[in-house]
Amino acid sequence: MSTSRLHRSFQALVLALLGLFLLNKVWNGTVLWYINSRFLPLTLIGAFGLLWLAQVRLAQLQSTLEGTHDHNGSSPSAWGLLVLALPILLGLVIPPAPLGASAVANKGFAVVAPAGAGGSPVQIEMAPTDRTVLDWVRAFNYTADPAGYEGEPADVIGFVYHDPRLAAGEFLLARFTLTCCVADAAAIGLIVRWPAAAELPTNRWVRVQGPVQLAELEGRRIPLIEAQSVEAVPPPDLPYIYN
């Protein structure tokens, strides 16, 4: 078997593996750790497209084995094959995980919420306890006088992030919002006042209940929960808030 044929066989293999890799991510739901669900159809098209290309490549290999059919084009180089196998290898070696607190530290913490598609302000009609972290932040960002929200009961989940700007006995209840893929993930959050804040490990998912107050962080309005209860919860299946 010539080197070129070997490369072509590997090309078909890598194409097929990439397609299966994507399908597997869709199948077990972890694809939503990487992209917004609205791009799922596109990922599926991509996965089946890759499998299709692999199939055509294999069929062509077979036909050139039998006949005199001259093959077109050049075979991909060895390092091209390896580089394209990199996403699969990385996916195997590093256990997949959604973004966490270390990314908050790096991306910075957006006190201003992304307005989301259509720039629509908040649906204030929803019951206070149904609001997510994002809803609360929006409510405080896009209302002229957020004092009206004070005292309303909050019931939200998020992960613990210890921001150095906060006082003792406080932590940030953080979430990531995602528009397209994790490359554009933005961290948002609420301040939670909880005497035992320091005992909560960073990255731990918690459910916080308590009345909301108006606070300020670096000159910007931000909701603060006077926590009555903080309980550990398992990480949600959908780790980000998709908008």
Binding site: T3, S4, L6, H7, Q11, V14, L18, L22, K25, Y34, I35, F39, L42, T43, G46, G49, L50, L53, V56, A59, Q60, N72, S74, S75, P76, S77, W79, G80, L81, V83, L84, A85, P87, L90, V93, I94, P96, A97, L99, G100, S102, A103, A105, N106, K107, G108, F109, V112, P114, A115, G116, A117, G119, T179, C180, C181, V182, A183, D184, N243
Partner: protein, 338 residues
């Protein structure tokens, strides 16, 4: 290049495999050394960009495969205006015919160059198509509404693409701008990639188009992988918060947002939603610059440009739009913004 590798292919392949294995072991070691969380963030962002962009690249390479088999150089010559201005205008409008984002335009442009498309037309297409196409029109309108920002985005992108195309048209010898793999065979392009104009049955042609697409997916795909990895590394290890803190002032904010667009490497079909988040805190000109420059130049597209253009031309492709975008955005900040 592919030929050169083939001659010594097998040893290199083994060497590459060994290198890959060593890399994996090293990564596994880093995880043990407490770098686990940044490493996992890197991997997540990297796979995010790759999974998001791969289908678009695939569509671009499929379009390229179809062009290879079904579009003859004659057809191009008849349809594309020969004048410099007409050509640049046509190139900028071509995106409506091929609605692909930046990962898809590069393979397609290279294929069109190989069919004899003038460099200036292709350059205008390359810069304009990621924005000037129906999909991005819809997504921009969804994010910002049919307002001034949408109009500015499209007008400025078209303007910059046309001006850059015109500047490229000054160079009359394409071989001084294009790499051999992007040249038509008759004009000294490499033979390796060339094949005669299709004349087989329908299914033979179709399967040839797909084989071409598969090859191109590998050739361009490795730059997508490397670009995604680079962007993910920058995102993981450079504090963006620090970067954004710099961003006030009419000029500085524009430069910061351009830098952010390059680092984030978000696909042009969705970058409007990302830009929306900055509208409140950043100057309008800088958000415009993000929306105009990001689709033209980012880490992965620059790596892919290198497969089409010679180094000097790539430099022009980075710097000309940079200068024009900055000038326009700063002007907007100084004179037009409320």
């Amino acid at each position: 290049m592919a030929r050169r590798v083939m001659s010594s292919g097998l040893p290199r392949f083994v060497l590459g495999l060994a290198f890959g294995l060593a890399l994996m072991l090293w990564l596994a070691g880093l995880r043990g050394a407490g770098l686990g969380e940044p490493l996992s963030a890197f991997s997540t962002v990297f796979l995010g960009i790759f999974i998001e962009a791969a289908p678009f690249l695939l569509l671009g390479t499929l379009a390229s495969g179809l062009v290879e088999v079904f579009v003859s150089p004659d057809l191009l010559r008849r349809r594309i205006p020969s004048g410099a201005l007409g050509g640049a205008l046509a190139g900028a409008a071509l995106g409506f015919l091929f609605p692909v984002c930046e990962c898809g335009t590069v393979p397609l442009a290279r294929r069109l160059f190989r069919k004899g498309l003038p460099v200036s037309v292709g350059v205008a297409f390359l810069l304009a198509a990621p924005v000037i196409n129906p999909i991005v029109l819809v997504s921009t309108a969804a994010a910002f509404g049919f307002g001034p920002l949408l109009a500015w985005r499209f007008a400025l992108t078209a303007g910059i693409a046309i001006v850059t195309g015109l500047i490229f048209s000054v160079e009359s010898q394409p071989q001084r701008l294009l790499r051999a793999t992007a040249m038509p065979a008759l004009q000294g392009g490499s033979q390796a990639l060339t094949s005669p104009w299709a004349s087989g049955t329908r299914s033979q042609n179709m399967s040839r188009a797909l084989v071409v697409a598969g090859d191109e997916f590998f050739e361009m795909g490795r730059y997508l992988v490397l670009g995604s990895a680079l962007a993910a590394a920058l995102q993981t290890f450079i504090p963006q918060a620090r970067l954004l803190e710099l961003g006030s002032g009419p000029l500085l904010s524009v430069l910061v947002m351009i830098g952010l667009a390059v680092i984030l490497s978000v696909c042009s079909t969705v970058d409007s939603f990302v830009a929306l988040a900055f509208l409140g805190t950043f100057t309008p000109g800088s958000v415009l610059a993000f929306l105009v420059y990001g689709p033209m130049v980012d880490l992965k597209s620059v790596l892919m440009f290198r497969q089409v253009f010679k180094r000097r031309a790539v430099l022009y492709l980075i710097l000309l739009p940079l200068a024009l975008t900055t000038a326009a955005a700063v002007t907007m900040n100084l004179f037009l913004a409320p």
